[in-house]
């Protein structure tokens, strides 16, 4: 092995020496402080590193620590290191001063700025917030129950809207003392209901310290996915499986660590459920499926074209969000333009924990005739999750003029050998009607008409049958007609006695038919008794009075046609009332 470290050291010192010969003190000196943990248990040790770096600097004094509330410096635990680097051809040196501190009483504290003196110039670090935790506040047994190593999927939000980007980190947690030498995700992880895109991420996972349920873990973000929900509702991210090679603590049977204790483990995350909300309604623009922050532009390749020349209408949608899921806006292209299948291209970036890029649509049309063509303005919309609302972009109207190529032959009917001529005379006009049968009123009338007719005819048939077979029913139904005929005859008679005879006949006929009494052999009192069973006294009295008058008319000297007519009317009234009794 070549020993090159000292040579590099010497080389750097030479450069520094010559560079500082003009007593030039570097102006790009940077200082920083870093605590190895910011959540520290009381009594736990923590390391503070103070760094000063620059391309060239003279003497650097060991910084003196100020009073730090919540931490106590363990005297004699300081360390010092130097690192040389060359970045873009420029040399740089970094001095690091380490201190070990021990956490005191629980509480929230701030590490004050630390002053560093370089060549009599003073520099200060930024303050650092940290917490000292009380170990007694932890539930007993938490540490024992917690696993040594596990994996989790951690989405950055649990309530996205459809199409919104969700960054899901696959994070490995392992306790101090567990060394993870390698990991291998099991291929084929599916995120049902999501469109999935793996984000670019450093190959070497960076670890950081964290406390989970009172137990200190190292966490390493292994993989990042950008997930885009494609539907609303509760969507579950299935368990993510990963195989890790772990070098565990030395076992009691191998106290000197002769064995490697290398172990391969398969870990599986727990399922994570996201509640995906649907997008609100949009009615005054076309939603193109884009969710994020976008710029939308539309342009035309030319404004002056020849007939038969292809013209491109380019739509460019660029920005951050679900770029590959964006749909092409629908344009109302003139029908006389010949259209070809639109072309689509995408350019996607996967850096900085987000999907960005652009999506381009190219409509190709060909004018087949000269003239002025117009593609109307269009309102398209995308959803911006930061605003929680749609952003509507108006794409302006595009126009172009097509002219016929003077060298191209004009297409005529003669050239086509087409013998059909336009109709130029009077035409038979009609309104296009395609109303379904079940929506036509006339159809329903025609369906129900036979049913109603049949019901009516059947009722009439039953009536006829009864008239023929049921004599009482037939007498009752015909009684009124018979009585009317007799009374009409009475009205036309000149003889008063005959008139009253006909009145008596009409009443007798009607009452016996209506009440189904024997047609002959009944006295007036029988008739009155029969009516009396159904009628009130007034009707019975009127009937008796009229029948008595008919019987005694021969002895009535002052009977006139006028009284006869009056009695015929009274008879009709009585018949009407008797008719209502049954």
């Amino acid at each position: 092995m070549k020993r090159i470290g000292k040579l590099r050291h010497l080389f750097f010192l030479l450069i520094t020496f010559f560079g500082l010969s003009g007593l030039l003190i570097a102006q790009d000196i940077q200082v920083s402080a870093n605590l190895s943990e910011t959540n520290i248990f009381s009594g736990e040790q923590v390391k503070l590193e103070v760094s000063v770096s620059g391309s060239a600097m003279g003497s650097v004094k060991q910084p003196e620590l100020p009073q730090i509330n919540g931490l106590r410096w363990l005297q004699g635990s300081t360390s010092r290191g130097t690192q040389y680097t060359i970045i873009n051809g420029k040399p740089s040196v970094t001095y690091t001063f380490g201190y070990v501190l021990i956490a005191q009483s629980p509480g929230e504290y701030s590490l004050p700025p630390i002053t560093i003196t370089v060549e009599d110039e003073s520099y200060q670090t930024e303050s650092i917030e940290f917490s000292v935790l009380d170990p007694a506040s932890l539930e007993s047994g938490d540490a024992e129950r917690s696993p040594d190593i596990y994996v989790r999927i951690e989405p950055d939000t649990n309530n996205p809207v459809v199409g919104q980007q969700v960054v899901a980190d696959v994070v490995l947690y392992f306790k101090n003392g567990v060394e993870v030498s390698s990991y291998q995700p099991t291929p084929g992880w599916k995120a049902e209901g999501f469109w999935k895109e793996e984000l670019n991420y450093p190959q070497r996972a960076q670890t950081s310290s964290t406390i989970v349920n009172g137990v200190r873990y190292q966490k390493a973000r292994l993989i990042q996915y950008a997930l885009f929900p494609t539907k609303s509702g509760e969507l579950t991210l299935s368990p993510f499986e990963i195989t890790v090679s772990v070098r565990a603590r030395r076992s009691s049977s191998d106290p000197f660590g002769f064995g490697l204790n290398q172990e391969r483990m398969t870990l599986q995350s727990v399922p994570v459920t996201l509640d995906v909300e649907s997008l609100p309604e949009l009615d005054n623009a076309e939603f193109i499926g884009a969710v994020g922050n976008f710029d939308i532009e539309r342009s035309i390749s030319t404004n002056d074209a020849l007939v038969g020349e292809s013209i491109e209408i380019n739509t460019r949608i660029s920005g951050k969000g679900n770029v590959p899921l964006i749909n092409k806006p629908k344009y109302n292209l003139p029908e006389t333009l010949e259209r070809y299948n639109p072309e689509e291209t995408s350019n996607i970036e996967r850096n900085d924990r987000e999907i960005s890029g652009n999506r381009n649509f190219r409509d190709i049309v060909i004018p087949r005739n000269e003239g002025e063509y117009s593609i109307p303005a269009k309102r398209v919309a995308y959803y911006d999750p930061e605003r929680s609302d749609f952003v509507i972009v108006r794409l302006p109207e595009l126009t172009f003029n097509a002219e016929r190529d003077p060298n191209a032959p004009l297409l005529t009917e003669k050239d086509l050998r087409f013998n059909v001529k336009p109709v130029t005379g009077l035409a038979n006009w009609k309104s296009p009607s395609a109303t379904p049968l079940h929506e036509r009123t006339l159809v329903w009338i025609l369906i129900f008409l036979p049913i109603l007719l049949t019901i009516g005819a059947y009722g009439f048939k039953k009536y006829q049958d009864r008239m023929q077979t049921d004599s009482a029913f037939a007498r009752s139904r015909r009684a009124s007609d018979k009585a009317d005929r007799i009374l009409e005859e009475a009205e036309h008679t000149d003889d008063i006695k005959t008139g009253y005879y006909l009145i008596e006949k009409a009443l007798t006929q009607y009452i016996t038919d209506k009440l189904n009494l024997p047609p002959a052999g009944l006295s007036h009192s029988d008739l009155i008794d029969a009516v009396d069973k159904f009628a009130d006294k007034e009707l019975t009295g009127s009937l008796k009075k009229l029948l008595d008058k008919c019987e005694t008319i021969a002895y009535a000297p002052n009977a006139t046609h006028k009284t006869l007519s009056s009695d015929i009317e009274q008879t009709r009234e009585i018949i009407k009332k008797v008719g209502k009794l049954t």
Binding site: E338, R339, N369, L411, E413, T424, W429, H438, V443
Partner: protein, 253 residues
């Protein structure tokens, strides 16, 4: 009586004026076509159609205009519409033969089943409503015989088989009319007027390709199935294949 006459006269004048306006606009469009302005003529024809009046002559002239605009797919669409009118049927059929011969790609056509042809005939010649009326009158005739039998005007026993035949036949025709109407409402003939269109197995851009339809291809659109997916229509190609495609460039008759 006077009010009735006034309403009749007003209605007559209104319809007469509407018809005259359509005819006038049609004549103007024809003049534009004859003077070599097919684009303006097409727009004028379209305005007449949008106003709610159509005729075989209108569609025939639109087909000829579309040919002059060098859009054979659109031309075929209008000739197919003109073919549905008795007055222009023969001219439209002749034009269709010519237009079909101009397409660079021809689709294989699977002949329709006799039953489907019969339903098509009912919808195109009789119309569903016409068949329903025939069914209605058959049923009514059978019922009339029944009523006369009930009224003892005809011997019920002797005419029973005739009554039954007429009623069953009439009801069957009425039901057939409803079926024909259902087919007519659900399946619409269409023509592809754009240069080509991909037909996929599922309404998804990533779905496997069934076939590519080219300008002038006859398609049958399943309207009911198409309602299930926005931005997609379910079509049957002339060769009997089914699939989903985008509605752009497809003109439904």
């Amino acid at each position: 009586m006077k009010i009735g006459s006034l309403i009749f006269l007003t209605s007559f004048l209104f319809f007469s004026q509407t018809l005259m306006a359509q005819q006038g606009a049609f004549d103007q469009a024809n003049t534009l076509l004859e003077s070599g302005k097919p684009m303006e003529a097409m727009q004028a024809y379209r305005n007449i159609e949008t106003d709610g009046s159509v005729s075989g002559a209108l569609y025939l002239n639109m087909g000829i205009t579309a040919m002059q605009l060098d859009s054979f797919g659109l031309s075929k669409f209008y000739y197919l519409k003109a073919e549905q009118f008795p007055s222009t049927q023969s001219q439209a059929s002749e034009a269709l033969i010519y237009v079909d011969s101009q397409f660079s790609r021809q689709s294989a056509i699977l002949p329709k089943l006799p039953w489907d042809r019969a339903i098509d005939w009912v919808n195109q010649k009789l119309t569903a409503f016409g068949l329903f009326l025939i069914g209605f009158f058959f049923t009514l005739a059978g019922l009339t015989l029944l009523y006369l039998g009930w009224l003892n005007k005809l011997p019920l026993n002797k005419t029973f088989s005739t009554q039954l035949t007429l009623i069953i036949l009439g009801s069957s025709l009425a039901l057939l009319a409803f079926y024909a109407d259902y087919v007519n409402q659900r399946y619409h003939e269409a023509v592809l007027v754009s240069s080509s269109q991909r037909v996929l197995e599922l309404p998804d851009d990533e779905s496997p390709l069934v076939s590519i339809a080219y300008e002038g291809y006859d398609l049958t659109v399943d309207q009911w199935e198409s309602k299930e997916k926005d931005g997609w229509i379910y079509v049957r190609l002339g060769n009997g294949q089914y699939g989903w495609t985008k509605p752009e460039g497809i003109k439904v008759l």
